[in-house]
């Protein structure tokens, strides 16, 4: 999993049926200092996240399929599974 920041929204009418009724958000991957890296994902939102939120993102297919409890289980990878309140990193 990684920490990201929601930076945008995506609207698509024609899409894999797995994404029907779900919100797709653009998430920038952050480094440990909280700065955006060049990497991003279009992720499925499971926690009502919004633009500007710092979020916890899952990027693995099997894990993603476990929490998206709807058939057909299929082509899904990046999922927002939490909104980060606080992160503390030791020395």
């Amino acid at each position: 999993m990684y920490i990201g920041r929601v930076s945008g929204t995506v609207v698509a009418t024609i899409k894999n049926e797995l994404f029907e009724g779900r919100k797709l958000l653009v998430v920038d991957r952050l480094d440990l200092a909280g700065q955006p890296t060049a990497k991003y994902d279009i992720a499925v939102d499971m926690v009502q996240a919004g633009v500007g939120d710092r979020v916890l993102v899952l990027d693995e297919g099997n894990s993603a399929r476990q929490i998206v409890d709807r058939e057909p289980l299929g082509a899904i990878r990046a999922v927002i599974v939490g909104i980060v309140d606080e992160i503390e990193i030791g020395d």
């Binding site: 930076s7 945008g8 929204t9 995506v10 609207v11 698509a12 009418t13 024609i14 899409k15 894999n16 994404f19 797709l24 653009v26 920038d28 060049a38 991003y40 994902d41 279009i42 992720a43 633009v51 297919g61 289980l73 299929g74 082509a75 899904i76 990878r77 990046a78």
Partner: protein, 89 residues
């Protein structure tokens, strides 16, 4: 998933089992500001409706094999949606 722009089509008559009827498109991967990033790739069209010029989003690796009507066919990049609108800060 990441953004990509469809820039062409690919036809292969002779192909591996499971790829019959799968439409292949040439896509240019894009960054989040929709600027080209990296080399063009060949993607299977999981929407069956994408065409040249369109902005799409794609899924990589094993999950690409789940984006087509028949699962676990030999592909590693698939189009999973056609973008109507993007709003990125």
């Amino acid at each position: 998933m990441q953004f990509a722009r469809v820039i062409g089509t690919l036809v292969a008559t002779q192909k591996a089992e499971g790829l019959e009827g799968v439409k292949f498109l040439v896509v240019q991967p894009l960054d989040k500001h929709l600027q080209p990033e990296g080399e063009p790739q060949i993607a299977a069209d999981g929407t069956a409706q994408a065409g040249p010029g369109e902005l799409v989003f794609v899924i990589y690796s094993r999950e690409a094999a789940l984006a087509l009507p028949e699962w676990f066919v030999p592909v590693d990049l698939a189009i999973t949606g056609i973008v109507d609108e993007v709003d990125v800060v």
